[in-house]
Amino acid sequence: MSEIKVERLSKRFNETAALDAVSLDFAAGSFTALLGPSGCGKTTMLRLIAGFEAPSEGSVFFGKELMADPQRQVPPEARGVGVVFQSYALWPHMDVAANVAYPLKARHVERGAIAGRVGAVLDIVGLSRFEGRRIEELSGGQRQRVALARCLVADARIILFDEPLANLDMHLRASMVDAFRDIHRRTGATIVYVTHDQAEALALADRVAIMSQGKVLQAAPPQEVYRAPANATVAGFVGRGSIVAGTVIDHAEGIATVDVAGHRFAARSAGISSGPVNILLRPEALRISPEGMPATVLDSIYRGPVHEVRLALPAKGQELLIDNTEAVAVGQSVHVAVSDAWIIPDSEPS
């Protein structure tokens, strides 16, 4: 059964349509990441689900129950969702325990039970000894974990995250990702997770919904979004890679043979394609080798483990990105072999 269901949901602020007739189901116990560039409507979607905003059109259901349509909205306090905010939204005038206990008090849980529950939740997020701390005395990661604990304490069936890691540094981020994954396993809650960091989305979610300009472009499991993006925008947003123009030589259901710069290779395809197409080439499927597409080195940047090399194909404006273990001299001519490729459906060749 789908736990959350939004139907033709739209939200307009003055003239801008922040959300544009989006329909999406969130299965019970699923972990969906909403991914997209700044301003694409991710936060708006979340706020509509939480009940902070009223829809301009369309409706939000929890199970079979109508939560919101343009006329009537169930107020947020009656929806029983948990929300973790980017800014943490911890109350500075309460200590850690009081912050976490608040949802229980608001729901009139009996006094005796509260302390035990708060202790248990703080244990889960690894903050058992911090109960009496003031919020100001916590580091960013600790704050985020308090916010998480506050959201978990009430056992909400639905948990919404709005870029919970955006303000944390890389190392804290990695440890929090682990914490989130762990929480999902433990609680089995339905999670909607907003982020603009694709690595986070891919690592956490069992489904990624890519949004752009108020619409959902693709909603699919992470591997599918990475390996078989529905269009060029999705391809550009998720993962590194280059899109080059090619021609289908031979076509079959699922696999086609394409020609790029005189070199032929196999490419996965969504159905049967023919003629000129756009082909997505991920860096890890490309390798400098004695034969393959001829290309010239544009530049080479050290990125920790590897050197990211930018190459120019003979056709004007067509570029490739590959990772190479060694630095390559700029201007050098090389050949590139292709081990995997994807024909982007639904788009005019560039």
């Binding site: 909205q73 107020p75 947020p76 306090e77 929806r79 608040y102 729901r107």
Partner: protein, 559 residues
């Protein structure tokens, strides 16, 4: 929660009602009394009353003094705000503390002490042999003296308002300018002041409105030389006791209200598109280097001039048996204090009453203003501006006039509560009306800065509107509410003009007692009361200061 839910609509209506009751109702009642005395509309007579040359002249004087007074107040309070907030000036905290005191001394007392200070009878000038010969016109009399004292009296308002803005300037803005090659003064001029322009304008507007409504200063400095402002003209018209007096003075009050509204309108005009929201980080700070001591000296000199000199003049007066007796070892006496603090039951009662009335008004406003602002925050900008202007009105009209409005409103028994007239409540209500704006402004700013997700986080935690107000908004806005309450208390404690018509036996206030002593020619006893009130207020502030160490920074304006 969305803006249009029925719950929000209900609370918005409640708030509009509160503002209407506290601010609009007295004004409307006045306008009715002005245009329709006795229940019959007569616009012709109304216009005629306003077109009198005396009224026009007084209006001009009011504008003139209030405007330049506000400008000078900004010139005086501004540098202090900058010095205390943004520099390493030695002793900046006591300086800020002392600068606030003029606000706590009743205007007529301030005016009186300045008159003493520069008059032929000046004890202090006398000691250095510089007292002008008898008969020399007092230099404080007339326009310039009024402007100067407006500046002194209202510099604290500017100081408090501006400080709030300055302390929010993130230091990067200043450092970016310094790295760009601009020296400290140039940074102040090109970056700091433009960025806090909204606060400068707000401070100036508040000082202007305060000047428009001031009675005590022009009464002592203007009336003797026939330099009348609207409030003093109104007072003078009161002495023509005929049946036409009410429409006349209410008509003039409408004029005062219009002036105040004009000030508010200018304010919103000056602020169009100037509301910068920045995430405040570490506040900016300038090093004064070798100018530290010099500037500190200047600061103390100014404080000495505007506070210590007048206050010591007052003290000197309170220590002699009768006005005009020189202060010396033979003449010094505590009899005035004994008289007012021990012997006269009414003054002791007045101390208690004023503490009680000002305290209740401050408490009611400090608490009540939080839900009001929480709702205001969700209404549009336009509503906020409009309501902000309305709330200013009872503060701007002369206190006597507000008192008359209260009599007109509350004399007849009201349903449920009966007549409030001649009770302590009417004074507290009048104080609440008059000083509403002082409490509202700081809290509105503070609530506007509370991030909305704090409230939303509480909502998804299952807390309803009321619970959120009590557990989240109120504690977060509490520091500002304390500051607002403090302003209200300090202003109401010495208040005279409102309570003058509203007190009843047993309910006399300090201002009333002080003025009546003054009127009865018992100036030395009046001085003793004035000194005692200053002492009480200072002690109170010092106690607060003690607590202030535990409060978040910015609650107490001098910390």
């Amino acid at each position: 929660m969305s803006r249009a839910t029925p719950g929000f609509r209900a609370s918005a209506l409640t708030v509009l009602l509160v503002i209407a009751l506290l601010s609009l109702l007295p004004m409307v009642r006045l306008v009715v009394a002005a245009v329709a005395p006795g229940g019959e509309f007569d616009f012709g007579a109304f216009a005629e009353r306003l077109a009198k040359p005396a009224a026009l002249r007084a209006m001009w004087h009011t504008l003139d003094t209030a405007f330049f007074g506000a400008v000078l107040a900004v010139c005086l309070g501004g540098p202090f705000a900058v010095a205390v907030t943004m520099t390493d000036l030695p002793g900046r905290k006591p300086l800020g503390f002392l600068l606030l005191l003029p606000l706590m001394i009743a205007p007529q007392v301030t005016a009186l002490s300045w008159l003493h200070l520069f008059g032929p009878s000046s004890t202090l000038l006398g000691m250095v042999g510089m007292a002008p010969p008898p008969g020399t016109p007092n230099p404080m009399l007339g326009r310039n003296g009024i402007i100067l004292l407006y500046a002194v009296q209202h510099a604290p308002i500017v100081f408090i308002t501006l400080r709030a803005g300055l302390s929010r300037i993130p230091r990067d803005l200043v450092e970016a300018a310094r790295a760009s090659g601009a020296g400290p003064l140039s940074v102040l001029w090109t970056i700091v002041l433009p960025v806090v322009r909204p606060y400068v304008v707000a401070a100036a507007a508040l000082a202007f409105v305060s000047g428009v409504g001031n009675f005590g200063i022009p009464a002592l400095l203007g009336m003797p030389v026939n330099y009348l402002t609207l409030p003093t003209l109104i007072y003078q018209d009161l002495s023509s006791f005929g049946p036409g007096v009410l429409p006349q003075i209410t008509a003039l009050s409408v004029l005062v209200g219009l002036l105040a509204l004009a000030g508010v309108a200018c304010q919103s005009l000056a602020l169009r598109g100037a509301a910068h929201r920045f995430t405040s980080g570490t506040p900016a700070r300038f090093e004064l280097g070798r100018y530290r001591l010099l500037l500190a000296g200047v600061g103390w000199l100014v404080i000495g001039f505007i506070l210590v000199l007048p206050a010591s003049a007052l003290l000197a007066t309170s220590l002699v048996p009768s006005f005009g007796v020189p202060l010396g070892w033979q003449t010094v006496t505590a009899s005035n204090y004994a008289e007012v603090l021990v012997r006269q039951a009414s003054t002791v009662r007045a101390f208690r009453n004023s503490l009680l009335f000002a305290g209740s008004a401050a408490l009611i406003l400090a608490i009540g203003v939080i839900p009001v602002t929480a709702v205001l925050e969700r209404l549009g900008r336009r509503w906020q501006r409009l309501l902000g202007g309305i709330v200013d009105l009872p503060y701007a009209v002369p206190g006597v006039v507000l008192a008359i409005a209260c009599i007109l409103l509350f004399l007849r028994p009201l349903p449920l509560i009966g007549s409030l007239y001649a009770t302590a409540s009417i004074i507290v209500i009048a104080y609440a009306m008059r000083f509403f704006t002082l409490a509202l402004k700081p809290v509105a700013t503070a609530v506007g800065q509370i991030s909305r997700d704090l409230d939303e986080a509480a909502a998804v935690s299952g807390a309803g509107t009321l619970r959120r107000l009590v557990t989240i908004t109120a504690p977060l806005a509490a520091p500002a509410a304390v500051a607002g309450g403090l302003l209200v208390f300090m202003s109401a404690f010495n208040e005279l003009t409102v309570s003058a018509l509203l007190w009843s036996s047993g309910n006399e206030t300090l201002g009333v007692v002080l003025f009546s002593l003054e009127e009865a020619g018992l100036g030395t006893q009046a001085a003793a009361i004035a000194v005692s009130t200053i002492a009480v207020v200072v002690v109170l502030l010092l106690v607060l200061d003690r607590f202030g160490r535990r409060l978040p920074s910015g609650v107490l304006p001098w910390r």
